[in-house]
Symmetry: C2
Subunit: 202 residues, 2 copies
């Protein structure tokens, strides 16, 4: 069975592929958007991760006829009432400026004391199959935010995020360590039974 | 009776003085921080407007022995879960950069559709009298946020805020019109009975 991973973010796509590969889903072949004919993609203007992930997965499934997986994710900072949230990738007002987003967040939290620097990475993953209701799963990864960046792995806000039970940032963990614990890993593992069921049906 | 307005923000201070003056509070003389001996001021690191306003008013009353009024205020944007909130004056990571804060907010809301551009200006005003529990009042002013600035009156986020029932931004209203409706006007009018009672007692 072929499943489409409907993401244009190369780093997210890499993580998604890696996690699916590690789970050895026999009989499932994962395609990227570059392997299917082009279709118009809706902008991510939903108010929630769920809205955005479902819209992307449903659009991709409708356009390609393939079971399609889409992710929307970000960081929810306690001292910012859960923002940047759905705006994580464009927090500085510019899309995909990882460093600008991160530096802005550090500046905004400059006066926020250590005991209020909690945050969670959140990933919502939707699986849409043509003609069926989409399945939606959510993974969260709690931690605290540093005052300066550390580590060169990962992307986005990884260099300032220290997961609960860790002393390293998620940008100092290996990809395999990160996948084992991360929001995206957790969400995808919740999706696996649905993928397996789908593969078994076909 | 002398009352201290404990604010370093010249524009906020101007609004506070103007509103108090318009109410003709007989027997109340309003002082600014430049009219009392200097004292160390705590940083605004509270999680809420209330915490910050109370801390400032209580510190000022303890240091000067005068009944002291302090304000903490900002804009709560629906699509940002109520942020910038207490971080309104340093949203861009830099304190008091009105234009930078405003441009950042416009950028963050670039993809937010018209029907989700609601916001409220919020002002919390605390009155602390040495030896008594502080009084705290809150004023809110609902409106929607434009996609570009309009008007040269006001300050902060005024140039993109259109109050409910208005077609102009709060930066296009006259000072008197703004005071009659604004969050700060509403909060201060809630405080007046307490100020009058205090003046009557002395």
């Amino acid at each position: 069975m072929r499943v489409l991973l409907a993401s244009r973010n190369a780093k997210k796509l890499g993580e998604l592929r890696r996690i699916v590969a590690a789970e050895r889903l026999d009989g499932i072949e994962v395609l990227g958007l570059d392997e299917v004919p082009e279709f118009p993609e809706a902008p991510e203007t939903g108010a929630t991760f769920e809205e955005n992930a479902i819209a992307k997965a449903v659009d991709a499934a409708a356009a390609t006829g393939l079971p399609s997986i889409a992710d929307d994710s970000g960081i929810a900072v306690d001292a910012l009432n859960g923002m940047p949230g759905v705006l994580s990738a464009r927090w500085s007002g510019k899309h995909g400026d990882d460093l600008g987003n991160l530096e802005l967040l550090l500046g905004q939290l400059g006066d926020v004391p250590d005991e209020r620097r909690g945050a969670a990475f959140v990933a919502v993953v939707a699986l849409a199959v043509p003609g069926a209701e989409p399945v939606v799963v959510r993974g969260e990864w709690r931690g605290t935010l540093l005052r300066a960046m550390r580590g060169a792995n990962g992307f986005g806000y990884d260099p300032i995020f220290v997961p609960e039970g860790e002393t390293r940032t998620s940008a100092e963990m290996t990809p395999a360590e990160k996948d084992a614990d991360s929001h995206r890993g957790r969400a995808l593992r919740l999706l696996l039974p649905h993928l397996r069921a789908l593969a078994g049906q076909r």
